[in-house]
């Protein structure tokens, strides 16, 4: 399981997260909601090991299956099974989607080698699953992609790379309702199949109707202000974050 206890994170000298506790078991979907500036992206980036965010490690825990993540580099965290989808993924000219995914897959699953032809088939399926054409495989990663295509490409990576735990950071922003449904469905399917644990960071309730969370947390001012099931979402819908 993914176990976070008393997580404090600073960036640019400011304390952003002030004691977060989270326990995510395989196959569970946790949603984190919260107003702007609550620290949602900080949570995603710091867990993945972005060097611009610093942990306070005293009395804190961040473990995946009892393996301490704090001291690991981002790539080591990825190899331990962690994945994050980016709000604004970078583009890289001349590195094809296929080459990128293939290199990543080899790094993440050295014990499960897969033939190129088979791998291509997997990538193709995943592309089609999120409604992207097959020829995206040969395009430079994210280069010239629309906002929505970039989001879908993040999900393609999730589907192909099969992490144990995935943090999806505002995967729903900038997507129309049809795209949202397609993506949510694809994620729900792999959660079930792979027993993947999901931390879904979002502003909007919409996606939660398609990707039903087991737990909903509200992040406010760097702390989890409330945790509950879908009932919490209804409450936020009615009254906003202020009362929580």
């Amino acid at each position: 399981m993914l176990n976070i206890q008393n997580l404090h994170v600073t960036t640019e000298g400011k304390d952003i997260l002030k004691g977060i506790n989270l326990l995510i078991k395989p196959g569970e979907v946790h949603a984190i909601m919260g107003p702007n500036g609550a620290g949602k992206t900080t949570l995603a980036m710091s867990l993945m090991g972005n060097p611009n965010y610093q942990f306070k490690m005293q009395n804190a825990k961040f473990k995946i299956n009892d393996k301490n993540m704090f001291k690991l580099t981002p790539e080591e965290r990825a190899r331990a099974g962690l994945f994050v989808s980016f709000q604004h993924p970078v583009s890289v000219i001349g590195v094809s989607v296929l080459a990128f995914l293939r290199t990543a897959y080899k790094a993440l699953h050295p014990q499960k080698p897969i033939k190129l032809s088979e791998f291509k088939e997997t990538v193709k399926k995943s592309l089609l699953q999120v409604g992207l054409p097959e020829d995206f495989m040969q395009r430079s990663i994210n280069e010239g992609f629309s906002g929505g295509e970039k989001k879908r490409m993040e999900i393609v990576q999730l589907l192909v790379l099969k992490p144990r735990y995935a943090i999806l950071d505002e995967i729903d922003s900038g997507l129309d309702i049809d795209s949202l449904r397609i993506i949510a469905k694809a994620v729900a399917k792999i959660v079930k199949k792979q027993k993947m644990g999901i931390l879904l960071i979002t502003h909007y309730q919409r996606i939660l109707h398609y990707l039903k969370p087991d737990f909903v947390h509200v992040l406010k001012e760097g702390k989890i202000a409330a945790s509950d099931g879908m009932a919490l979402v209804t409450k936020i819908e009615r009254k906003g974050y202020a009362t929580i």
Binding site: M48, T73, E75, V90, I93, G94, T103, A104, Q157
Partner: protein
């Protein structure tokens, strides 16, 4: 790659001229006469050399570009008969060169050749079958020394016409002491479908320090020529000053591809120029790795209506290296078009400069030119500059110029790392992606070797 039997062939060359010969170090009139005499050249060539020598002495060192003051012209052998190159032994070849051969998988026999150790592999066999096919079509493909003997009139007509000895100090030097290089003549309307590779005749005398290449593509013909290879070329001589002259006649097309990786003690100062006539199309693809300093600006002179020229330049500068590269396009006729694309990568304190010249003369109306130079800097110690020059005397032209300097961003690296890819491998992928538009123009085997070589330069290992 085919393996060749080396037994009984240790001394390589099929030359009939027996005496082993090298001129004394240093450059005098006598040296030049000796070179010409040993080659048994016609008088006009000897005169050409001697005139060039005077020009060389008279011309000052270029004061722009990079520091050339450490070149010691008195400490260079200007002519070594090929058989004399056997003198070096494998033990004298630096360990890093040997390691590189090992890592990029150069066959044993080739390694020795590339390192300048005598043993040759017998590419003559391949060369002969190709040359048979070529001669049926009337194509001439020989080393330039042979061309002087066999086709003196043809050579005389074009030699030094594209790049006169007085063009620059190093062109003058080459004109005085040149040896080897390729001579190609493609008759009217003939298409040579297979790229001609200097590689095939690696044991002919084409890979010298002062080689001289001359290509004439007659009207409506096509030829693609590839020189060099990505393996490091080891030489104890620290100066490489070549001249490449190309004439693309009406409606003809020539593509000239170079990938060079000189050892890191070499000053690589090469003059390359194409004259392109009406509706002709000439392309330079020029990849420079290695060397201490490279100064090379392949040029296209667009002399006839609708002539087209393209320069693709790629440079990689590591520790202690300066790659001063780019291209020149000179529009001399209406409706001509040119494209110059330059990509450079600098790392570990290496330095790249893009130096370009675009000139459009009065009357070359409706001409088009696009210049694009991109530099990628891998760390704070490294440097990239651009020195574009434009001289446009005609109003009715379309000119585009774009330049970018970028660093590999933290964000990019983090993205790769978050997918399990190490920082070093991420850098390799980003660099290979950056150079891809040029690499894809190379023949497959060169492209693969070049990518592996970049990986080697970046990581010290091939994964």
């Amino acid at each position: 790659m085919q393996q060749f039997d080396l037994s009984g062939y240790e001394f390589g060359f099929h030359d009939n001229i027996k005496p082993v010969f090298a001129t004394k170090k240093g450059l005098t009139k006598k040296t030049v006469e000796e070179i010409s005499n040993i080659k048994n050249e016609p008088q006009w060539m000897q005169d050409f050399r001697l005139r060039a020598l005077d020009i060389f002495f008279a011309k000052k060192m270029p004061m722009w570009g990079s520091d050339l003051s450490r070149i010691n012209f008195d400490n260079i052998y200007y002519y070594v008969k090929p058989t004399d190159k056997q003198g070096r032994t494998w033990d004298e070849v630096p360990i890093e060169i040997k390691n590189t051969f090992e890592k990029i998988g150069i066959p044993q026999a080739e390694r020795k050749f590339l390192a300048g150790v005598g043993a040759q592999y017998d590419s003559e066999v391949i060369y002969h079958s190709i040359s048979k096919m070529l001669s049926k079509k009337g194509v001439i493909f020989v080393d330039t020394d042979t061309a002087i003997q066999k086709y003196p009139e043809l050579v005389k007509q074009y030699f030094g016409k594209v790049i006169p000895a007085a063009d620059n100090k190093f062109a003058a030097l080459n004109s005085a002491v040149w040896s080897g290089g390729s001579f190609i003549y493609v008759p009217k309307g003939v298409r040579v479908d297979l790229p001609l590779q200097a590689y095939f005749r690696i044991n002919a005398r084409n890979m010298g320090q002062f080689e001289r290449t001359l290509i004439i593509a007659d009207e409506g013909s096509y030829v693609s020529y590839i020189e060099g290879c990505t393996a490091p070329i080891f030489t104890t001589n620290s100066l490489h000053a070549a001249v490449v002259e190309i004439i693309v006649k009406k409606g003809a097309r020539v593509r000239y591809t170079t990938v060079q990786n000189w050892s890191k003690n070499v000053y690589n100062l090469v003059t390359k120029r194409m004259f392109i006539e009406e509706e002709g199309f000439g392309e330079w693809i020029d990849g420079n790795l290695g060397s201490q300093l490279t100064m090379k600006y392949p040029s296209v002179y667009l002399k006839g209506r609708k002539a087209r020229g393209e320069v693709l330049s790629l440079a990689f500068a590591g520790k202690g290296q300066h790659q001063d590269a780019g291209g020149k396009a000179i529009h001399l006729a209406p409706e001509t078009s040119s494209v110059i694309t330059s990509k450079s990568v600098s790392k570990d304190g290496g330095r790249t400069s893009y130096r370009g010249m675009l000139k459009v003369v009065k009357g070359a109306e409706n001409s088009k030119s696009t210049v694009r130079c991109d530099a990628l800097i891998l760390d704070d110690k490294s440097r990239a500059d651009t020195y574009p020059t434009m001289d446009i005397d005609e109003e009715r032209v379309t000119i585009g110029h774009e330049a970018s300097v970028s660093k590999i961003g933290e964000e990019q690296l983090f993205y790769f790392q978050s997918r399990g890819i190490s920082q070093v491998l991420a850098e390799v992928m980003i660099v290979n992606g950056f150079v891809e538009p040029i690499v894809r123009e190379l023949p497959m085997e060169y492209a693969v070797e070049l990518n592996r070589l970049i990986q080697l330069e970046m990581t010290g290992a091939v994964g």
